[in-house]
Amino acid sequence: MLKIITAVIGRDLKLAMRRQADIVSAMFFFVIVVSLFPLGIGPEPDLLRKLAPGVLWVAALLATMLSLPRLFADDHRDGTLEQLALAPHPLGLVVTGKVIAHWLVSGLPLALIAPVLGIQFDLSSEALVVLTGAILLGTPALSGIGAIGAALTLGLRGGGVLLSLLVLPLYIPVLIFGAGAVDATVSGLGGEGHLSLLAALTFASLGFAPWASAAALKIALE
């Protein structure tokens, strides 16, 4: 079981490394969106500190959305996906591997840049640690839930916009608890409760979402 997952992760990572521009452009999208907010709102540190968690999290959601259509589209176009679906292993395991690989190339880099952007927003070091932890904990849930949307919209016209319509409402709990964890730390309440809920969302979505996506893929491949 683990063998299939690791094989898929290895394959997807190798493919991603051959096209590094995709990863880098999603990261720069994140950086640019976050940097636009101070320009639109004004440079007052107090205001920025208050807005930082929400801004960073919304930008992280959008950056994740950006790379989602490619999760299955390339494999679908060259027929790999059909072969994977025909393989004797459950398709859900394959999707689990793809979700983890997607997180490694889209979620993990976001968590690594987020503290740097947090400094721009004058966050304290304590808040930066929680922010990084929250993004690390929450982005796997984004990849998991996003996989369902990516599978449902596979091969449809206007897939990208449609995908955001389907997936963004489902991202709301992650946004609330992710930004809430940082908010609670800034206000001195402690973000542990939020982080626990975020971890619960991530584990639940990593457990269930791949199977729902596998069902959606089977519908798309019929």
Partner: protein, 248 residues
């Protein structure tokens, strides 16, 4: 073999089409009756609220619409589950026929909520947990309709939409509670919707209006499902027979 009444016979569009046609006037009539009774109770009999004056009477539209918007989503998810489990054609059509009514109810609920909120709370919109989750429910309806509209193959649209509905139904409680906690953590409860006591006539008026909305939804969904059936099965003999029978 005994010739028992077989409920599953009506899972076929060819047999359900005339049944739906026969049921529509029935549901329309009940809806009108309940509506008249509910409006009479709500607008004329129910006492004026001592805090909110006459303005509170929008509750007789607002609350039933909110209830129906939530209930219709559950009914759609129910049909989606049946459709995915038993691979029936009609279930997907029912889910699609219900979606616009559900979205309409969510919209009415938000709209009347804004109209009610302005004079009572002094704001068209507050980020209250209920309002926010109703708005998200509207987004879920729109997402469902956008997905089914984007897929040309009707069967695939039904199945993909059904899966989305099931995912949505699992998420609705999570979203509701996260919004609720978010709200209480941010600003505390500035708006208290809970009423200490409600006059009996008000409650009855609201229940009657809810029945009216319910029956209206069924009638409209049946009308819509009939046209969906005709459109999808236009190449079959029974549709040709129906259309010839109607002289078109």
């Amino acid at each position: 073999m005994k010739d028992r009444f077989n409920f599953y016979r009506f899972a076929s569009p060819a047999t359900f089409y005339p049944l739906a046609g026969a049921l529509i006037p029935f549901f329309v009539a009940i809806s009108v009756l309940f509506g008249l009774a509910g409006l009479y109770l709500g607008m004329l009999v129910a006492p004026t609220d001592f805090q909110q004056g006459e303005g509170y009477r929008i509750i007789f539209i607002h609350v039933p619409a909110s209830w129906m918007s939530m209930f219709i989503y559950l009914v759609m998810a129910f049909w989606a589950a049946i459709g995915l489990a038993f691979n029936t054609r009609l279930s997907g059509m029912m889910a699609q026929a219900l979606a616009p009514t559900g979205a309409l109810m969510a919209f009415i609920s938000l709209w009347t909520g804004a109209l009610w909120g302005k004079p009572m709370w002094g704001a068209w919109w507050v980020w209250d947990a209920r309002l926010t989750s109703e708005l998200i429910l509207l987004f879920l309806y729109i997402g469902y309709m956008a997905l089914t509209a984007a897929i040309d193959d009707a069967r695939r649209a039904d199945k993909a939409g059904g899966l989305l509905l099931l995912v949505g139904v699992v998420n609705v409680p999570i979203i509701y509670f996260s919004v609720k906690w978010w709200n209480t953590l941010h600003q505390g409860s500035s708006v208290n919707l809970a009423k200490s006591s409600m006059a009996q006539t008000m409650l009855w008026g609201m229940l009657l209006m809810a029945m009216c909305f319910w029956m209206y939804s069924i009638a409209v969904a049946l009308m819509r499902v009939r046209t969906i059936m005709l459109e999808r099965e236009r190449n079959t003999d029974w549709v040709k027979a129906v259309l010839e029978g109607e002289g078109k």
